[in-house]
């Protein structure tokens, strides 16, 4: 390997991938190595994983259990009825996510799946998504990361986890059958109706966070009127947990009758309108720009070069929102191969790239895992808001955040440092990215654990 291609291998492995113990895996053609990874994400690893239908059955069963817990059967306490709960499903989901990323041979594809799962955030921070986040990532995101953005958008928007996370399951057309029924029932019983109308949450976040972007709102490309109309289009798309057939995601009784006008275009009543609106949103130039900006920010720099963003956006539009050509344009772009790493790793990236560099086996990964990432300030699959985790260094570079990384590195290194030569590992994993002052510190370290802690905290390993 000559020095130019070894620098490229290091960038491919760390910036586009998730870190490697040895750069040999990226071979003599690092661009080709990345290109060959473009496609659906790997089948997820791990045990006890539920698909979407099973996950919904489980949520429904849990609900039933909670109802029973109020009147436990003779001889059982409420706690016994509720035992198990969601913990097993959530633990299996998080384990699978981390294990798959730590062991994959297609780390570029896995990083893309992380990127899209974060773009279309569904978070455990809200109770209504419990037990569904893993199924969302596996069924809505993983198979679709290299298809069209439009299909990804449809899969995300109509997935039960998203419909519940952003409250659409409860949103009813103000003139829908269900609202009229609820009103009649309420009148009969002399109480307030339970179901009355719209909830705008999903509509607003699809526009602002998933497609057009907040910039489009600021420049007046959509307004409150569009949010409300789009919310009306979305009515009826819901999860009926109590139905026998939970796969039915559109309930006409909840749908707002009549046509709706979103962004100046009129759509008919009915379930088909959602696909039409999502199509029009996907091919909108504001969406192209927003998606291109986020991809470039993720792979190149917090403030991405405008020329690169423009190229990615026009590739996206020229190819009818197909993502593979956009990824190819990205790995062809000279801006993405700057030797100076511009991105700071998030806690999850840091933990997983450490596991990969250290060649941890499955058991150790289970131990190093989610608790570590949580302690570093990032609860896996539980982003604080629908905007997902930040992709900017400023948000991860507070003194306390850095201190916690040092603490975590110390702990990992105290366990593994005496059996690993950090100097050798640094050269094999970082190659030409390894800076002389880091190499010097590794040479001078007091002992193996200290050397390994220094390597994990080295600027060229904290950044990518």
């Amino acid at each position: 390997m000559n020095s130019a291609s070894s620098l490229q291998a290091a960038i491919a492995a760390h910036r586009f991938g998730l870190g490697e113990a040895s750069l040999a895996v990226a071979g003599s053609d690092p661009r080709g190595w990345l290109d060959a990874q473009i496609g659906p994400a790997d089948a997820p690893r791990g045990d006890g994983l539920l698909n979407t239908a099973q996950a919904l059955d489980h949520v429904a069963a849990e609900r039933e259990k909670r109802r029973e817990a109020k009147n436990p059967p003779p001889g059982m306490t409420a706690e016994q009825v509720l035992a198990g709960h969601y913990r097993e499903v959530i633990t299996a989901d998080i384990r699978s996510r981390m294990l798959t990323a730590a062991l994959t041979t297609r780390p570029f594809a896995e990083r893309l799946q992380w990127f899209w799962s974060n773009h279309f955030t569904v978070s455990l921070a809200k109770g209504s998504t419990r037990g569904l986040v893993g199924a969302f990532e596996r069924d809505a995101i993983r198979p679709n990361i290299a298809g069209s953005f439009e299909s990804l958008l449809v899969a995300s928007t109509t997935h039960p986890a998203m419909l519940r996370y952003l409250d659409n399951s409860q949103s009813a057309g103000p003139h829908s059958t269900i609202v009229a029924r609820a009103a009649r029932r309420a009148e009969r019983l002399g109480e307030g109706p339970r179901i009355t109308g719209l909830n705008e949450n999903l509509a607003r976040e699809v526009l602002e966070l998933h497609t057009l972007g907040a910039e489009a709102a600021r420049s007046g490309q959509y307004t409150q009127r569009d949010v409300t109309a789009f919310a009306a289009v979305l009515t009826g798309w819901r999860v009926a947990l109590l139905d026998d057939d939970r796969s039915r995601l559109f309930d006409p009784l909840w749908h707002e009758p009549g046509s709706k006008t979103v962004l100046g275009k009129t759509y008919p009543a009915g379930p088909e309108a959602l696909r039409q609106v999502l199509h029009d949103l996907a091919v909108h130039p504001a969406t192209a720009h927003f998606i291109a900006t986020k991809l470039a920010r993720h792979f190149v720099a917090d403030a991405p070069p405008p020329a690169l963003v423009d190229r990615l956006a026009s590739t996206y539009l020229k190819n009818s929102t197909q993502l593979a050509p956009v990824y190819r344009e990205l790995i062809r772009s000279p801006e993405a191969w700057n030797a100076q790493p511009a991105k700071l790793k998030t806690p999850e990236e840091f933990v997983i790239s450490s596991a990969r560099m250290l060649g941890l086996d499955r058991r150790s990964i289970d131990r190093a895992d989610a608790g570590g990432v949580f302690a570093l300030g990032q609860r896996v699959q539980a982003a604080p808001s629908p905007a997902g985790w930040s992709d900017r260094a400023d948000d991860w570079l507070g003194p306390d955040a850095v201190w916690k990384r040092v603490e975590w590195s110390t702990r990992v290194a105290s366990r593994l440092g005496s059996s690993i030569d950090a100097r050798v590992l640094a050269a094999q994993s970082l190659g030409p990215l390894l800076e002389p002052q880091t190499a010097t510190q590794l040479e001078r370290a007091a002992d193996g654990p200290q050397a390994l802690a220094l390597l994990l905290m080295a600027p060229e390993f904290q950044r990518r």
Partner: protein, 404 residues
């Protein structure tokens, strides 16, 4: 304390806002604290958009019950304030501070931004700009920069409001063990060419291993410490720790705390729901802050401002919650505050009185509230407030919030 009800305009003018415009200039000059450097300021950010009308219901407004529907019903009676206003029953300790003249409630308050995006509104709330992203640093950082006033964020990352020219400390509870001083010294050498990592590490080192810190604060035992204070909740732990930092002489003068979970799109009035719990946490945390600052006398020199990025739609949505809106409530409290008042130029709740027919109309600019605190409490020069700190805000009404 008087409230005036002008029935022809259906407006209630409560407290000092109307009077402030007429206040003699001499009243302003007494607002200064005894010694420069003594004043303490705490900014609490409620992320997610607190429903001001739920936390501070205008139960005496003739349109309240009809406008709010099911959200006008409370399991326990709201705690009465002056005029038509009351506090959510979970804010009992704040209500006691109100009774003791230490808490002022602001209503129908908001930012110049009106477009209902969480993320844009929070950017404006913290940057001090008029439009999102026109300014990339925080108003508090810019206000503190000229005097190099020390500040601390009780969070893992530095929030935007404190980002700017100065250096900021951050602190959050840790479950991990402490690295040795030797390793940290070597890391510092390794970061010679990476100023961002070097600065963060040095700030953290000073906080964790530094001198002049009570031993229980300089280490990894914080999770245990936190565990002892369950009655305040997580926010309470941060508030308590903030009080410890602020009570030190030579410690930070300014602290920023954050508490999320206010985005009440559904089942808002559930007495065990997220909003009810959030209010309980807020109430407990502010009480913990007060308790922590009282013994050293620091509380008398403290002003706490609690604000959110926007209020919510007046009417209930289809899921017994509220969607994003504009005007809302804020709180100013502390021993230095002239409390026991609701400060509001009340716009009314009838549909025609609402902003775009849906939100509580903003009649008090939150920037004016912040500027008044910064001027009278932290002695930030008016010229700086009108330009560097809140560009484009010159001429905003001055509010008298502090004890004379």
């Amino acid at each position: 304390m008087t409230s005036m009800i002008d029935s022809s305009r259906r407006r209630v003018l409560v407290g000092a806002l109307g009077a402030a415009a007429l206040a003699p200039l001499s009243a302003l000059s007494f607002a200064a604290t005894s010694r420069p450097g003594d004043a303490r300021f705490v900014f609490v950010i409620l992320r997610g958009g607190l429903d001001g009308l739920y936390a501070v219901p205008a139960i005496g407004d003739p349109d309240f019950a009809a406008a709010r529907g099911p959200l006008a019903q409370y399991e326990q009676a709201p705690l009465t304030l002056s005029g038509p206003f009351a506090l959510h029953p979970n804010l009992a300790q704040m209500h006691a501070m109100y009774g003791g003249g230490e808490l002022a409630v602001l209503h129908a308050v908001g930012l110049p931004y009106r477009d209902r995006s969480h993320f844009d509104a929070q950017q404006v709330l913290e940057s001090g700009g008029v439009r999102p992203y026109e300014i990339g640093t925080g108003w508090l950082a810019r206000a503190l920069a000229p005097t190099s006033t020390k500040s601390i964020a009780l969070s893992t990352a530095v929030p935007l409001v404190l980002r700017g020219p100065g250096v900021v400390d951050t602190w959050a509870p840790s479950a991990l063990s402490d690295p040795g001083a030797d390793l940290v010294a070597r890391l510092a050498q390794m970061y010679a060419n990476d100023p961002a990592l070097a600065t963060a590490l040095e700030r953290a080192r000073a906080l964790h291993l530094g001198a002049g810190m009570p031993p229980e604060m300089a280490g990894a035992d914080t999770m245990g410490e936190a565990g002892k204070n369950k009655r305040y909740g997580n926010f309470g732990v941060l508030a308590q720790r903030a009080a410890e930092f602020l009570a030190q002489s030579g410690g930070p003068q300014v602290a920023v705390l954050e508490i999320g979970g206010w985005d009440s799109h559904a089942n808002e009035a559930n007495p065990n729901g997220a909003l009810a719990n959030g209010l309980r946490q807020l109430d407990g945390g502010l009480a913990a802050l007060r308790e922590g600052l009282l013994p050293s006398g620091t509380w008398n020199r403290t002003v706490v401002l609690v604000a959110t990025e926007f209020g919510r739609e007046v009417a209930v949505n289809g899921t017994l919650g509220t969607d994003h809106g504009t005007g809302g409530a804020a709180f100013v409290l502390g021993g230095a505050v002239q409390g026991g008042r609701v400060i509001a130029d009340w716009p009314g709740l009838a549909k025609r009185d609402r902003y775009e027919g849906r939100d509580l109309r903003i009649t008090t600019d939150l920037r004016a509230v912040i500027k008044s605190v910064l001027a009278d409490h932290l002695q930030v020069a008016t010229s700086a407030l009108d330009s560097a700190v809140f560009p484009g805000s010159a001429g905003s009404a001055k509010l008298l919030l502090l004890k004379a």
